[in-house]
């Protein structure tokens, strides 16, 4: 598809700005995401990546700018309404329901109006119950069905499983877009190796993924396009190789040589 001829973007961000007191967390960030893309957002600590996600998913109201989902404006909607139209997100600091067993954690998204509308929770048949669907989703995401892991309390699970649980919570909504906020951070190399196929699988299922990441090597293996942020400003967007070669990106990560 050539420039200008591309289909309508599934998500379109136009000039998002946000200030916290005197701090400019985001200034005039715009980008478009096509259906089925894996879109990476990179940038050093404090560059506004998570704030950007929060602004798009409604957890923070943007100061100015617009968010369009399939051409419909969803700027500053309530988070649950944004999730309802099909935009799911994970949290950088995992937010499981610690007092519930892992599979019961998924009952909550499966009970949501979106899951009930799409009928996704019914699983096999009319009489399928949410518990069965929950265990199915967990198995898909890498919880061994026959082990005791899916039935353990979330408070007893290690980080790797909690990250997967965050993704499973998103998958239960059968979303069109998933924002992954640093799903690889804090994981060992082998755990990441186990996660990558999941990302690939979501991609083949046609889910649009937007990944905020610090682990660039892993991100560039899956991402088709990457955007770099620094001090709340978009500095470059494009193919992964193009972005990493960019002088400003290198400066942002490694520090500028000229004072």
């Amino acid at each position: 598809m050539g420039e200008g001829m591309s289909a309508e973007p599934v998500l379109s961000i136009k000039g998002i700005s946000k200030t916290f007191g005197g701090l400019k967390a985001l200034s005039d960030v715009s980008f478009d995401i096509q259906q089925g893309d894996v879109f990476g957002i990179i940038g050093p600590n404090g560059s506004g990546k998570t704030t950007l996600i929060n602004c798009i998913t409604g957890f923070i109201k943007p100061g100015s700018g617009h968010v369009f989902f399939k051409g419909k404006e969803i700027t500053a909607w309530q988070p649950h309404k944004i999730a309802h139209v099909g935009i799911a997100r994970t949290f950088q600091i995992m937010r499981p329901y610690y007092s519930l067993p892992a599979y019961k954690n998924l009952i909550i998204p499966l009970w949501s109006p979106r899951a009930r509308k799409t009928g996704g929770w019914r699983g096999g048949g009319k009489h399928g119950d949410r518990d069965t669907v929950a265990v199915d989703i967990l198995e898909e995401i890498g919880f061994e069905r026959d082990s005791r892991v899916p039935y353990k309390f979330a408070s007893a699970l290690p980080t790797g499983y909690l990250k997967r649980l965050e993704l499973a919570r998103c998958m239960a909504l059968r979303p069109e877009i998933i924002f992954c906020d640093e799903v690889f951070s804090g994981l060992s190399m082998s755990e990441i190796a186990g996660m990558l196929p999941l990302i690939e699988k979501m991609k083949t299922e046609g889910i649009t993924l937007i990944m905020v990441e610090h682990r660039l090597r892993e991100l560039f293996r899956v991402a088709g396009r990457v955007m770099a942020l620094n001090f709340g400003e978009k500095i470059v967007e494009g193919e992964p190789n193009f972005v990493i070669e960019d002088k400003r990106v290198r400066e942002a990560y490694l520090g500028s040589e000229e004072v």
Binding site: T57, R95, S99, P109, L110, S112, L173
Partner: protein, 338 residues
């Protein structure tokens, strides 16, 4: 062997493990293990009025015990399952009590209509009044709910409406002592077992999710305020029923229905009985209410003893009686070498 190199180990009893899942019905011993405590509770409470036949005064105390047990149940549900600490138990009793008085005295409805109508109507009214406070969390919600009964008391006093300081008198009493007693006992058991079931349903899990992590619930596409609304409705439903019952029990609805007792004693009961167990709320009020009656002989000194008992519980058994008993029932302890 000195104690220092030893450690206490807790292990599930074999019987408990055997009664999990489908194996629960494998033998009469397993069935008894599961049903025993429940039958003991139900049977004990139903037989209590017969045991107390010789002491009519204490028979009436049982009614009050059940009323406080219901309020404690409502508090335990809101605080430990939904994460809303509601200090306004008396708000529910007051609204329920006054509504049943209006239905019964002013509109002339019989008692078997006025109590259910006051329960449902009161729950709707309480939920509507608490609606603006639902986005609040933690101590802010607690303080607001504490203010509501005080506010309504002053409104009734200042405007001299609903009988003013005299209250509304002349409510119908219950047809006879047994109906009076068993109405509350059966309703209490229904609410207790109903709530236990409710919190483990899918919808109950969503409510527990709100307590654990409301941001995750919002990210799952569920409106947290709607869920809190539902929880407050359920809790105020129980509270308004207690209030309506008390009003008919005393044949009077006055501003003492908004008294702080109805807010504080249920909370103390939950602390003593064990928060988050639901049945602990019942056990707590079955200890505290009779204790407070016994201590009546000491006059105003009873508050001191009452406080000492409460402090003792909080310091030495802060987990609550029910949590302690459950642990002893399901597990045994032994000393092992480190």
């Amino acid at each position: 062997m000195d104690k220092q190199s030893m450690r206490k180990e807790r292990i599930d009893r074999g019987l408990k493990v055997r009664t999990e899942g489908i194996y629960a019905i494998s033998s009469s011993r397993e069935i008894l293990y599961l049903l025993g405590p429940r039958l003991l509770l139900i049977g004990g409470i139903i037989l209590l009025p017969f045991i107390l036949e010789l002491a009519p005064y204490w028979k009436r105390v049982v009614n009050i015990m059940c009323v406080y047990a219901l309020l404690a149940l409502s508090f335990d549900f809101l605080a430990n399952y939904v994460g809303l600490v509601c200090l306004g138990g008396s708000f529910f009793t007051g609204v329920g009590g006054y509504l049943t008085a209006i239905f019964n005295v002013n509109l002339g409805l019989p008692i078997y209509l006025s109590i259910p109508l006051a329960t449902v109507g009161g729950a709707v009214l309480c939920t509507a009044l608490l609606l603006p406070c639902l986005p609040l969390r933690g101590v802010y919600f607690a303080i607001i709910t504490l203010m509501y009964p005080l506010l309504l008391t002053r409104v009734i006093e200042a405007l001299d409406i609903l009988g003013g300081t005299n209250g509304i008198t002349g409510l119908d009493s219950f047809p006879n002592g047994y109906v009076e007693q068993y109405a509350i006992i059966i309703m209490m058991l229904v609410f207790l077992f109903g709530m236990r079931r409710f919190v483990n349903q899918d919808i109950g899990l969503v409510l527990r999710g709100v307590k654990d992590n409301d941001q995750s619930v919002r990210a799952s596409g569920i409106n947290v305020t709607h869920m809190k609304l539902l929880a407050v409705f359920v809790a105020s439903f129980i509270g308004c029923f207690s209030g309506a019952y008390v009003a008919h029990l005393y044949m009077w609805a006055g501003i003492s229905l908004f008294a702080l007792d109805f807010s504080i004693i249920p909370i103390a009961s939950v602390v003593i009985g064990g928060g988050g167990t639901l049945v602990g709320a019942l056990i707590g009020s079955f200890i505290l209410v009779p204790l407070s009656e016994i201590l009546r002989a000491f006059g105003s000194f009873r508050i001191v003893i009452y406080c000492a008992v409460l402090t003792g519980f909080i310091v030495f058994k802060s987990e609550g009686i029910m949590v302690y008993l459950q642990r002893k029932y399901h597990q045994f302890e032994r000393w092992v070498k480190v």
